[in-house]
Symmetry: C2
Subunit: 586 residues, 2 copies
């Protein structure tokens, strides 16, 4: 394609509403255009990228016996009522009524549709296992779309659903799919994506993994152990602390602490460390507004996902009213109404004596608080956020590092949540009716494209990996008015296209600087520059977008050397793709 | 892929709700599954077909300089307000409010989105012409979905939009796209699709064509001239009649016609032909309920689309109330209240004398009605339906044939309807602001697949053209328990896949009859049968699904002969694809 004909504006100024680089570059490079909040149209360069990503995904899904299908975007509400999600899911699920007044939803995920598609088919054990997948538009009415294609309301997703007759069989396939996902990300140019254990959230099920691309602008926090192989989403990472008590047991003593309403002030006021205090954090249950008081070591924070899972219901930070019975800033366990409040203790408080804590009256705290002696027996629960430098729950070393990442894929062991609720059964070998066990597997196509851009860019534009680049090569014709230059560049463009290389051709009559700025924004990994100066010496310049390779090729060898560079850059990516068979041996 | 693993049920019984063959076969063959009224999930065989159709469309659109983009399914209502269609389109447009209470719609076509994507870019004439297209899910809340994938509410569509600086340039590109469409249908195996002039309806614009696959089950009627090349949709076809008056002019005479309330009775009662009567057909305007009386030659019918276009507003058949001033069954032009009613005359009445018509009182008609003498000057309009055996408006012969067809694609010259309403302008060579002229080009992917099935099937299943078949070849292993048979069939399956042929493999331990029934339903155009009987003579049987070719191949030559058959069947289709360059010379 000629740059001259390419639809879309390219410009230098960073748009003021772009916080992250990939968003700004994809706007500046004519990749995407906002249509509504969190809803974009994709220009041709992005569609070329997503087509290539989709093809990689297809090949990997087909290689693990996936069967591509297509579910509808618009689904009947009755299908979501079968699973209970029609009411259970919040306002991110778009609901509307059709012209016949039938409730409909926009599919934000397709577990229900997948069960509906196969439940009349997979009625006997001999038809298992199998996996179906689609690549289709989804809509989630996100409250806060952000960061360009990273978090949007409408997106293209590959979602796959596998069905099994045993947990073992699901786990075996789950590992196969895990390896396929590693291959997909490696083939897309980001082999360093890591898989972390995650909280399954509203998807149900137990074991699940998120595939994370590590980047400071990621919206997820991940705990990584530098000593062993442990990796987990902050939401799922177990927080382990060591408490050493070397002081003799003190008496429970009420002290005046006027205006001391937070942990840092309390520690300073008493001359102790924050880890020697017992912090109260208060929430309310969404359904009933009942107060939930969580006690936690003063230097740690509550992980709200763990708390939600522990309670089995959703919560929000408390609104502490004057008459609710809680003294904000002075809340402690001793004397707290156990009937009125749900009271939880984090594991971090286990085995510490002589804590400082609130005394449940204004301007008073206790010192010398010993939980078992002064409050009674408690069941400690893991409710704290893991911290940088914390203890690894696997190897036990103080080797946890917290990094940020973008979730580019996820896999879930769903269990029988959907097959039970939607009454999908099969007859097993003994003639008994059983519920199939499901797994599900997602990858956001547009988010992956934007993540790769975030990973590989400089201040001038994206540096696309050759496997998903909109164009592998751009031919720049400097001085198209010079007949010899034009003829040479025309020839190279035609020959590259002929050789099956996606080639962009810039033969506009513009300054070299403007041409290269556009080329930087369009991010072809290889650039072939035909200029009067080099051509006078019989040369053509071949450079990579990342500037790691510069070749002054003889004019007659320029085509072959470009093709060889395409091949070597492709090989470089392929070398990092894990072997598919390795997965089956796991 | 092995048939054993293919998701989807196949069965013999025709589902009771299927009226047309392709619908029944696509249900019986495990191609589609209904999810809601007019909403289907596609099983793997259909997804394979639509992928191939999409690839053909892409190649043809790219070849005529189309740039693939992607518009959102969910669009802001404000965008449709810009064009006026937010209110102008009826309940087939799904409207809902998002979580922020913003009105949104589901895209049923993307003219607005295409203008939004390019109006900041194409601000100067040097950036024209260009064409953008997408292949994307659309939703139209049809009142009466029917016939499987032929008329659905959710569907995948290729829609393209071209932008031009002159009508001449649009027409030039329109012809190029016309040829590309002929190529697409020919490559998909149905070269005999015909292009007919059509009514542009709600799309606006003037010239448009529908690409029709002729089939008795089609829902559109098409007028074709057997003498010249004229083809038009019934909605658009001009109705021409010849009236000969050889009788002397009679007097206008009122006659008693008790109980004679329709044209056949009147003609019989008076002993004249229906063509000698003047029929009144009454409608009401949707907005005001005002009556519209159309006079037309008694043997012809009103074409409501022509009438709607002539009035510029929608109409419905009239409810003739006792006090409305019309005498149902006896309505005539003489004495009809011209202030109260909109009165129109069809061209078929031009030049006939001595008509019989209603006298606007019960049980009375006139004879000897002469329009100019008894009513006055009228402007005749073309409001009649063209008839089988009617006069061709191009060659003038009585050679019109009415056939039925399925619309598999359409192209429109849109003009400036959207660019004007959405204020998209460019600066022309003289520095003046101008509105670009648009064309738009649609193909329904799923409908095309179903239409091909309707065109090529027998009672046992579809007969897919090799270019879009889900599998080009099916290997049938009869008696998989025979080691030699199994080994030969396994080898052929592996070798065909290795050669890049989409191959289906049936090695189930079932009866030959059951295996062939499934193969018929799955419709691979070539079948390779490995059986103990033939193998004992060193032979493998190769047959085409349409039974036109049967080859008893030597075992060692079976692979090469199958490949040659794939090639020759592909060549046969390619031979009917019109040359792309031919279009540019038009």
């Amino acid at each position: 394609m000629k740059v001259e004909n390419l639809i879309g504006n390219r410009f230098k100024e960073k748009p003021s509403d772009c916080v992250i680089d990939s968003h700004a570059l994809m706007i500046r490079g004519g990749y995407i255009k906002g249509v509504a909040n969190g809803i974009y149209s994709l220009y041709n360069p992005t569609r070329r990228i997503t087509r290539k990503i989709e093809q990689i995904i297809r090949e990997e899904m087909d290689a693990i016996e996936g069967q591509e299908v297509l579910f509808p975007v618009v689904l009947p509400g009755s299908l979501w009522e079968e699973s209970g999600r029609f009411t259970a899911v919040g306002s991110e699920l778009v609901r509307f009524k059709d012209r016949g007044d039938t409730p409909m939803v926009l599919g934000m995920t397709h577990e229900e549709a997948s069960v509906q598609l196969v439940r009349d088919y997979a009625t006997t054990y001999t038809r298992y296992p199998f996996m179906i997948y689609q690549i289709q538009t989804k809509f989630r009415d996100e409250a806060r779309p952000r960061a360009g294609l990273i978090r949007v309301r409408e997106f293209t997703m590959k979602d796959g659903y596998s069905f099994h007759t045993s947990q073992e069989d699901l786990e075996k396939y789950y590992n196969v799919c895990f390896r396929a996902y590693e291959r997909i990300f490696a083939r897309a140019g980001i082999p360093d994506v890591i898989a972390v254990k995650s909280d399954s959230g509203m998807m149900g099920g137990s074991v699940s993994h998120e595939f994370m691309m590590i980047t400071p602008i990621g919206e997820d926090s991940i705990a990584i152990c530098d000593s062993c192989d442990y990796k987990a989403n902050m939401e799922a990472a177990q927080c382990i602390v060591e408490n050493k008590n070397e002081l003799p047991l003190a008496e429970l003593t009420k002290v005046e602490t006027p205006g001391v309403t937070d942990i840092p002030s309390l520690a300073k006021f008493l001359g102790i460390s924050e880890a020697q205090t017992c912090k109260a954090v208060v929430y309310q249950k969404n359904m009933t507004d009942e107060y939930v008081v969580v006690f936690i070591r003063g230097d740690l924070d509550v992980n709200e996902t763990k708390l939600t899972n522990a309670l089995g219901e959703n919560i929000h930070p408390a609104d502490i009213t004057p008459d609710c019975g809680l003294h904000a800033g002075f809340i402690g366990a001793v004397g707290l109404d156990r009937e009125k409040f749900t009271i939880l203790f984090d594991s971090s408080l286990k085995g510490i004596d002589n804590l400082a804590c609130g005394a449940n009256e204004d301007d008073r705290h206790y010192t010398g608080f010993n939980i078992e002696r002064d409050y009674g027996f408690v069941e400690y629960q893991d409710l704290a956020k893991i911290v940088d430098g914390g203890i690894c729950p696997v190897c036990g070393k103080h080797s946890i590092r917290i990094v940020r990442g973008i979730e580019v894929g996820n896999i879930f062991q769903l269990g029988t949540k959907y097959t039970k609720s939607m009454d999908m059964t099969y007859t097993d070998a003994n003639g008994e009716q059983q519920y199939p066990i499901m797994g599900c597997y997602g990858i956001g196509v547009g988010r992956l494209a934007a993540s790769v851009c975030e990973h590989f860019h400089d201040q001038y534009g994206p540096i696309w990996p050759i496997t998903i680049a909109p164009w592998q090569v751009e031919v720049c014709c400097l001085r198209a008015d010079d007949a010899e230059v034009k003829s040479c560049a025309d020839g190279l463009y035609a020959a590259l296209e002929q050789a099956g290389i996606d080639t962009l051709y810039d033969d506009r009559d513009i300054r070299a600087g403007a041409m290269f700025s556009d080329a930087d924004l369009l991010g072809a990994p290889i650039r072939v520059i035909v200029s009067p100066k080099n051509l006078a010496q019989g040369k053509v310049e071949i450079v990579t977008r990342d500037k790691s390779v510069t070749i002054m090729a003889e004019k007659d060898e320029a085509l072959e050397q470009t093709l060889e560079l395409v091949r070597s850059m492709t090989r470089e990516i392929e070398a990092k793709v894990p072997d598919r068979k390795k997965a089956f041996a796991d």
